[in-house]
């Protein structure tokens, strides 16, 4: 199959890669761009370990072709926070023990990031519903929910202080 050039902006940087039309986005991100944060857990869109953000929407990158990402803006876990300046969500997941094996964590935090853009004041129920496309096998979600609610409160407090 003829390879195609795909141009996209990933974590703020312009990228140009060569991909087979059948190549899944997750493999391009992980293997061609070296962004191994998002993981493959099921390849059927059920588990959400591969969640990234594309043009402001949470997307499961294991069931999207890389060529479909042409011209898009993509944010992965690597684009949230930095070692010296963790994102509020990353801080709160650490603080509230919102992770164990870490395999679902990048997808979960990336999803939570979008959720808080969609709904900056979520109830517990909103959070539970909002992350129900992301499976965690270790935590039982209780501390994930706590982490996200705490991050939301912190972000809102910061917003209020700024106003």
């Amino acid at each position: 199959m003829t390879n195609q050039i795909v141009k996209m902006t990933v974590n703020g940087e312009k990228k140009e890669i060569l991909a087979e039309p059948r190549e899944l986005l997750i493999y391009v991100l992980r293997e061609k761009l070296g962004l191994t944060g998002a993981h493959v857990g099921c390849e059927t869109s059920h588990c959400g370990a591969c969640t990234v953000e594309i043009n402001g929407k949470s997307v499961k990158s294991c069931t999207m072709f890389a060529v479909q990402a042409e011209g898009t803006e993509i944010t992965t876990i690597e684009g949230l926070g930095s070692p010296d300046n963790l994102h509020v969500l990353q801080e709160n997941f650490k603080e509230h023990h919102g992770l164990q094996c870490g395999y679902c964590t990048p997808g979960m935090i990336t999803r939570a990031h979008r959720l808080l853009q969609e709904n900056p004041n979520p109830t517990e129920e909103d959070v539970r519903f909002g992350i129900s496309g992301n499976i965690c096998r270790c935590t039982g979600y209780q501390n994930i929910v706590k982490s996200i609610l705490s991050a939301a409160a912190e972000l809102n407090a910061a917003k209020e202080a700024a106003q």
Binding site: E20, R22, E23, Y27, R30, E31, L35, T36, G37, A38, H39, V40, G41, C42, E43, T44, H46, C47, A49, T76, I77, E78, G81, P83, L86, L89, Q90, F93, K94, E95, H97, L99, Q100, C101, G102, Y103, C104, T105, P106, I109, V127, R128, F129, I131, S132, G133, N134, I135, C136, R137, C138, T139, G140, Y141, Q142, N143, I144, V145
Partner: protein, 804 residues
């Protein structure tokens, strides 16, 4: 110098035992910098993929690889014929059986590995898999273990039906072993004479640990140096190295096995799979690294399942409810090969813990293992070996006996608990329970949930239902469990001949920080955090200054790995013991520096002080430095220690759980209104981590009890091989859990810890199941099998005439 920090502050600074220290692992995991097997990309690496059998039982007439080999980018296609000259077409299992690596003449379960394609990338490999032509001749399929024992169809033609198996005589060509514990004759006599006898048959269905990260390996044979490096999803990397050496003939020192970060294990990653072996062979054949990572469907269809126990019980009691005897027989469906991951002498694991938390004077357990055309396995999914089965069995038998006696099940438990003063307690089936205080835990739990109030509310709800005012009913699920974990004493516990000790090696650096390496491997349990805490309290160096490393066999001491809640009981003990060796040498150094006799100094938090003159001291930092820069008479330089710990006994964590559930009888949908979990895991190392383990274990228990299963049709097709059909609960289905605890230290463990990771699963499954069954008890229910998915709950209501 005046010490400006208080003693209390010095204790806090250590972040030792009892501290809810934040996890050191989380910095990398939250930033997407974990390093899992599939993240490994070595130069020139090829990808392997399997041709798998679509049939559950068939003869393999021929395999034609020509079309696959002709595809551009395909490097090799391996079949059993290629592995045979290396004697690698079969491999030994952990249970003393052998298993085909690649189909040798026939296939015995759907999804079995038939050929291994090696190609330049995953897409070419997948294309080539489709091009391999395999001619099959279908054979009769057996998916029912009872039918299997009656059938003329011989599943394992490779075995001599008259010769004994690894665990003694076989009764039939599809029979694997009979394993017994206790006194059958005596038990039968007691039961025959008893006031009250309850009998029940229950099926603990087949399920699967299904960690979020599937299994995989990367093998890299360096032909220049003769060294093989094998990265993989291994819960027991050192054992894998030994097995790889025995299988391949490569000397063990030339093999380095590395378990990088592991994305959950839950028992699935204990065994050795054909994919690991094929990646090694392929790397040896091609001379370049070969990666094999299974997909979810392959994980659910072919790697180790859990449970599949058909259990038949008889329990006898006096009219007052005092239990007098227990009889249990299990027909264990092991699938096509006996690939259970149990200590060698225990083919049914620790199923003989099935007398539970109760003082049962006489008991018998018999287990018959059987071959069927299903995937091999039988691993301990979030439990010590078969302990979940055992606890489910006894906690259901208690409920059934309560029905027989027309008695409250909480009270029935209370009057039969082993009493605090009976510990150490010798159970009828041969275990020595180390410590416990069951009555205290039970009373605390029942009080916390207002048990009497709940029963009143339930009675009102039953009345309202009968009056037609509501279509929901209420269930109160109870369970009290005793686990047996921390395998185990080398005298009776081994895996492939390797005694089940574990190890820790510590090096203190000159500036007072340290590295400790262990024979275990974390899969999310947070070892890097908690083992440093054990050590901090033992050696007085802050946990933040201690690096914990596991999983690299070239650097870590030999250990048997992480499963069966053995890390804290065994490796945690080794850590404490190694720490004590460090402390003993530090004491001598301190005494030298303070110019007093060794006996005149004592350890105090983070230093050695002169007895009676605590203002004169040497901190562990000063001592560490001295170990490297002073010539101390009679002492070698340096400060290192290693401990290999052979536990004198198992540990026996316990707990009391209560689940309050509403059930809609028309939809079969359960709603969990409350779940209270009291755990006693002895000394608590990190309460935050313990709580996290409990949340997670309860969630996996909810899954198993309420819907998760590996199901087959009569043709042996696996009907639950994707996450569409295999139930993994989401945040939407999982409630908030209330956690509580008591502390009864283990008397034989250096720090009194017992292990906790699996308790919530072991106690949780019967608790959720009992809640469902209890809801239907007032309407005539006695026992229904798990998983209680919506359909089965609806069916229970329907069978009880609740839709009439």
């Amino acid at each position: 110098m005046k010490d400006e920090v208080t003693r209390e502050e010095r204790v806090t600074n250590l972040k030792g035992l009892g501290s809810s220290r934040k996890r050191v692992e989380d910095a990398r995991f939250t930033q997407g910098k974990g390093h899992y097997v599939d993240d490994i990309n070595l130069p020139g690496m090829l990808t392997g993929d399997f041709v798998r059998s679509p049939y559950a039982h068939a003869r393999v007439k021929s395999i034609n690889i020509d079309a696959a080999m002709a595809l551009d980018g395909v490097v090799a296609v391996l079949t059993a014929k290629d592995l045979e000259p290396l004697s690698l077409h079969w491999m030994p299992t952990l249970a003393g059986d052998k298993q085909m690596v690649l189909a040798d003449g026939k296939v015995l379960f759907q999804g079995q590995e038939v050929a291994f394609v090696v190609a330049k990338d995953r897409y070419i490999a997948a294309d080539a898999v489709d091009l391999v032509e395999v001619e099959y001749e279908e054979l009769p399929v057996i998916v029912d273990p009872f039918k299997s024992l009656q059938s003329d169809v011989v599943l394992r033609e490779d075995l001599d039906p008259t010769a004994p198996g690894a665990h003694g005589p076989r009764k039939h060509h599809n029979h694997i072993f009979t394993w017994e514990a206790g006194d059958e004759e005596g038990t039968n006599a007691v039961i025959d004479d008893a006031d009250v006898v309850a009998t029940e048959e229950m099926y603990y269905h087949r399920t699967h640990p299904c960690p979020l990260e599937p299994c995989g390996s990367v093998a890299s044979m360096d032909k220049v140096n003769g060294k093989l490096t094998l990265y993989g999803t291994f819960q027991a990397p050192h054992v894998v190295r030994t097995v790889a050496s025995l299988l391949s003939g490569i000397e063990e020192h030339n093999i380095r096995v590395v378990s990088p970060d592991i994305g959950g294990g839950f028992g699935n990653k204990v065994g050795v799979y054909p994919g690991y072996v094929c990646s090694i062979v392929a790397s040896i054949v091609t001379g370049v690294p070969v990666k094999w990572v299974e997909d979810r469907m392959e994980n659910l269809m072919s790697t180790a399942f859990a449970r599949d126990y058909w259990m038949k019980g008889k329990i006898s009691a006096t009219k007052e409810g005092k239990i007098t005897g227990l009889h249990c027989h299990v027909t264990a469906d092991h699938g096509a090969f006996d690939a259970c991951a149990d200590p060698t002498k225990f083919p049914a694991g620790f199923m003989s813990i099935c007398t539970g938390s109760y003082d049962i004077p006489i008991a018998y357990l018999g287990v018959d293992g059987v071959y069927t055309n299903k995937a091999p396995g039988g691993v301990s999914y979030r439990c010590s070996f078969r302990v979940t089965e055992a606890v489910y069995f006894i906690e259901r038998m208690i409920e059934v006996l309560a029905i027989e006696l027309n008695m409250d099940a909480a009270e029935l438990r209370r009057i039969n608990f082993i009493k605090k003063e009976q510990f150490p307690y010798d159970s009828a089936l041969g275990w020595e329970y180390d410590s416990g205080d069951y009555h205290t835990a039970w009373d605390k739990a029942l009080k916390a949930v207002d048990y009497e109030g709940l029963r009143k509310e339930q009675a009102e709800r039953v009345a309202a239902f009968k009056r037609g005012e509501t279509r929901t009913i209420m269930g109160i699920g109870l369970s009290f469990f005793t686990e047996i974990v921390g395998a185990g004493p080398v005298k009776n516990c081994d895996i492939l001949g390797m005694g089940m000790f574990d190890s820790c090696e510590i090096r203190i650096h000159p500036t007072g920080s340290a590295i400790a390496r262990l024979g275990t491997i974390s899969q999310g349990q947070g070892h890097a955090t908690t083992f440093a805490q054990i050590l901090a309290s033992e050696i007085g160096i802050p946990a933040d200054s201690i690096t914990i490393e596991e999983g690299d066999t070239d650097t870590a001491p030999y250990g048997l790995g992480t499963y069966g809640s053995r890390s804290t009981p065994v490796a945690g003990a080794a850590t404490a013991m190694a720490g004590r060796k460090i402390r003993a040498k530090a004491q001598m150094i301190a005494a030298y520096l303070l110019e007093v006799h060794d006996d005149d100094v004592e350890f105090d938090v983070d230093r050695f002080v002169i007895k009676g003159a605590p203002e004169r001291f040497k901190t562990m930092g000063e001592i560490a430095y001295a170990a490297y820069n002073q010539a101390i008479p009679g002492l070698e330089p340096g400060l290192e220690a290693v401990s290999y710990y052979d536990p004198p006994n198992m540990t026996y964590p316990f707990g009391a759980y209560v689940c309050v559930m509403d059930i809609d009888v028309d939809t079969g949908v359960p709603k969990i209104n409350r779940f209270y979990a009291l755990d006693d895991c002895g000394t608590r190392i990190n309460p935050m981590v313990i709580e996290g383990q409990i949340h997670g274990g309860l969630t996996e228990a909810l899954a198993v009890a309420l819907g998760q299963e590996i199901a087959y049709d009569d043709m042996g097709n696996c009907k639950t091989a994707t996450l569409m059909d295999f139930f993994l609960p989401t945040a939407w289905e999982v409630p908030n859990f209330e956690t509580d605890f008591t502390v009864t230290p283990s008397p034989h463990h250096p720090i009194g810890a017992k292990g906790v990771g699996e308790s919530p699963h072991v106690g949780g499954v019967p608790c959720f199941s009992n809640a469902v069954q209890d809801a239907f008890r007032p309407f005539g229910n006695r026992h229904t099998n798990m998983p209680h998915d919506h359909w089965r709950i609806w069916k229970t209501a329907n069978d009880l005439g609740m839709h009439d």
